[in-house]
């Protein structure tokens, strides 16, 4: 029994049943497959986290995001005073996270790629694009540049899904995706 010492002195040399060996082999090969699947996806898959990261002073990031929002502002969101920025297709887009907002709102064109710069100003936040359900961690002091290509037109919510303080649940942002050449 498992609560008593092994009955034989040298149990390591006991034969292992064939069925058990088969299962071990299957499980091992499946593990290898799953391991190489991740590498395969890095080469052939289209959804991989960008490795482009740099340390940045949050104040500098805030400055750059403000300049970006100023330059590409097409309108304000409702009467909230939040700018909606429409970056040039293929260009850079900035979105910052701070308690408790994602800023600014972005308007992107379907099928175009953007370099999205993400960073936080104060604590960690979680960039959660809904209902696509893409989730990326955002750290203060780290600028993460992600090349993103929206594939559908619509209004997408950005939720914060890393707990960031007592107002965590009111922290939302927005990304609009429009047909190329059109606005809202």
């Amino acid at each position: 029994m498992a609560i008593f010492p092994p009955q034989t002195r040298i149990w390591w040399n006991e034969p292992v049943a064939k069925a058990e060996l088969v299962w071990i082999a299957v499980a091992f090969l499946w593990g290898l497959f799953m391991f190489f699947m991740m590498i395969y996806w890095h080469i052939y898959g289209k959804q991989n986290l960008s490795p482009v990261v740099g340390r940045i002073d949050p104040a500098v990031f805030e400055q750059r995001t403000s300049e970006f929002a100023e330059k590409f502002k097409v309108r304000e969101e409702g009467n909230l005073g939040i700018p909606v920025a429409k970056p040039t297709a293929g260009g850079d887009a900035y979105m910052l996270a701070r308690t408790f907002e994602w800023w600014p709102v972005l308007e992107l064109e379907k099928g175009k790629s953007y370099k999205l710069h993400l960073s936080a100003l104060d604590v960690q936040h979680g960039f959660s694009l809904q209902p696509i359900n893409m989730n990326i961690q955002v750290h203060p002091g780290l600028e993460h540049i992600i090349t993103l290509t929206p594939t559908e037109v619509g209004t997408f919510g950005v939720i914060c899904n890393e707990y960031c303080g007592l107002g965590h649940h009111v922290m939302t942002g927005r990304i609009y995706v429009v047909e190329p050449g059109q606005g809202r």
Binding site: F4, P15, E20, L32, M37, G45, K46, Q47, M134, T172
Partner: protein
């Protein structure tokens, strides 16, 4: 053994007082027994506190009920994580370590006084951190990611708790040394003790990681250090946060083997294979701490892939091996008990009325199917993009820690109470029901949270409706998400009922249960299978006696589910917006 050591050993042996267990014939060191009792009772108390907090969390996340205010919700959620994920689990594990060393090896326990020092530190630490949380200034969640800052005694309590638990680990190792020197057993340690050793080794790494990161964080909270790097904190913290759950895995696998042995007389099919699987845990299981850092900027994909895959899934291999050898050893034992008809008579006629067996088998099945598979999916680097920090994550770890570990610990309690507390279980009929009630509720919690998570619902969120009155840029989840969270709330009520029943039965039995003595010892362990033929597998590794069709079917079912679910998730991933 040195000459100087002999008198000390002799003295120690003389000083230790033993009784003989009427059920198993094992020599029981009374000092170890007292320590086991203290740690187990503390564990159950924290389970009760943490469980109540958990119910409040679930009722708040049920949109139609939405019980607590947002401030209270984040406070209670912090306390819930702390009390069940750390305190309940580790107190119980320390009890298991003492049991698996001193009791199973019929040895005296090493340094029992230090055992009490450890216990006191853990209690003081646990209470201190709880006070910090309940005071309201430390709602930073269990993970306490800087720069969110808690009160200094939040961190200090955790550090004291960790130091206490570390002492407990070394008492376990010391007891192994004593048992070997004093020859209380022959040959290798029993498999259950080996599983406990695996848990202890992982615990040492876990606790060391916790101390390494929490000490500077404590100093930061009192102002001696100006800055804690957010990413480094997270990396080292998860060395504790995730590995602590790997202690659970090792401990509850050991308990599966233990309960299989006690209830149906199961013997390991092969010592070599089962121990080899534990060895893979020792080597690689702790690398999975990287599961929490897969969508983090600043860590390379090479680091992520090697670590998240536990070095090419070798620790998963260990789990998949246990997933066969545990039911396999039960099937072999039951077939030797005489249940040889068809593929599944051994399982149908297993002692389902014995809460220890029922809890153990439910734990085994649900840990594998719900917790294991979802864990590998979550831990796949790219798939994690669809799940990171959604409520899929708590869904997964409620399957591992609640349906897996907690249920296994509950199951073993039905043996620990008669064997160590020497009391019979009161209300045996309710006890019979308890694992099913709790298991069903916990499974519901896991499945519905995972369901809501695939719909994008965030974890640690007070409100998922984002009404325009509170939120500048409203967003709505699909209606199905609210339904899932409602079903999660209902499941939580079911699980809480099962949990309350467990606590009532355990505490009631310890206080009011009939004394166990030689006359009723065997019966106190609950109903056992009637043996039609005596004696289970006679030899270890006896390849000739191997025919376990039921286990093959179960394993094949598991593997098919695993593979299908794995590919379904890659398909979902391929539909996401391209991102490089």
């Amino acid at each position: 053994m040195t000459d100087a050591a002999i008198p000390a050993n002799v003295l120690g042996t003389l000083a230790a007082k033993f009784r003989t267990c009427p059920a198993t014939g094992l020599k029981v060191d009374l000092a170890a027994e007292r320590l086991i009792k203290a740690n187990a009772v503390a564990a159950v108390v924290f389970l009760m506190i943490g469980g109540i907090f958990g119910l409040l969390v679930a009722l708040t996340r049920w949109p139609a009920v939405h019980l607590l205010s947002s401030d209270m919700f984040y406070l209670v959620l912090t306390a819930h994580g702390l009390d069940v994920l750390l305190l309940w689990i580790i107190f119980f594990e320390i009890a298991i370590l003492y049991f698996a060393s001193a009791i199973i090896l019929s040895s005296r326990i090493a340094a029992p006084r230090w055992g009490w020092v450890a216990f006191a530190l853990m209690i003081i630490g646990g209470v201190m951190t709880n006070i910090a949380v309940l005071q309201g200034d430390s709602s930073v969640m269990f993970t306490s990611y800087p720069p969110l800052k808690a009160q200094p005694h939040f961190y200090l309590g955790l550090i004291l708790f960790a130091v206490g638990a570390l002492i407990g680990c070394f008492i376990f190792l010391g007891t192994l040394v004593i048992a070997k020197e004093e020859r209380t057993y022959e040959g290798s340690i029993p498999l259950v003790t080996f599983g406990a050793l695996t848990a202890c080794i992982i615990a040492v790494f876990t606790i060391a990681s916790g101390a390494i990161i929490l000490i500077p964080t404590f100093l930061w909270s009192v102002g001696y250090i100006s800055h804690i790097d957010t990413l480094t904190y997270k990396l080292v913290w998860w060395g504790m946060g995730h590995s602590s759950q790997q202690i659970n895995v090792s401990a509850h696998v050991a308990i599966w083997y233990l309960i299989g042995a006690v209830t149906v007389g199961a013997k390991p099919l092969s010592e070599k294979v089962s121990r080899g699987a534990f060895l893979l845990y020792i080597f690689f299981l702790q690398l999975a701490s990287a599961h929490h850092l897969l969508v983090e900027p600043g860590l390379s994909s090479e680091w992520k892939i090697v670590n998240t895959s536990y070095m090419m899934y070798l620790a998963v291999l260990g789990s998949m091996v246990h997933g066969m050898t545990v039911p396999g050893s039960i099937e072999a034992a039951q077939r030797k008990n005489g249940y040889t008809h068809g593929v599944f008579e051994w399982l149908r006629k297993a002692p389902w009325g014995n809460p220890a067996f029922a809890g153990m088998f439910l734990s085994l099945v649900m840990f594998g199917f719900l917790g294991g598979i979802s864990g590998v999916i979550l831990g796949t680097e790219q798939l994690n993009i669809m799940m990171h920090n959604t409520i899929y994550v708590p869904g997964h770890f409620h399957a591992t820690v609640v349906t897996g570990t907690t249920l296994a610990f509950m199951a073993v309690t039905y043996l620990v109470v008669p064997l160590i507390f020497q009391r019979q279980i009161i209300w045996p009929k309710l006890a019979r029901l308890q694992p099913y009630l709790f298991g069903l509720g916990a499974a519901g919690i896991s499945v519905f949270m995972m369901g809501a998570g695939t719909l994008g619902v965030a974890r640690r969120h007070w409100d998922i409706t984002f009404p325009a009155s509170d939120v500048m840029l409203p967003h709505g989840y699909p209606p199905m998400a609210s339904l899932m969270m409602g079903l999660n709330g209902l499941s939580a009520i079911l699980a809480a009922t099962g949990g309350a029943l467990y606590i009532a039965i355990t505490v009631g039995s310890i206080l009011f249960g009939k004394k166990v003595d030689a006359s009723n010892a065997a019966a106190s362990l609950g109903p056992m299978p009637k043996k039609i033929v005596r004696d289970a597998v006679t030899k270890y590794g006896d390849a000739g006696t191997w025919h376990l069709p039921g286990t093959y079917v179960l394993v094949a079912l598991f593997f098919t589910t695993f593979v299908l679910y794995y590919f379904v998730n890659w398909k979902y991933l391929s539909e996401l917006w391209p991102m490089q």
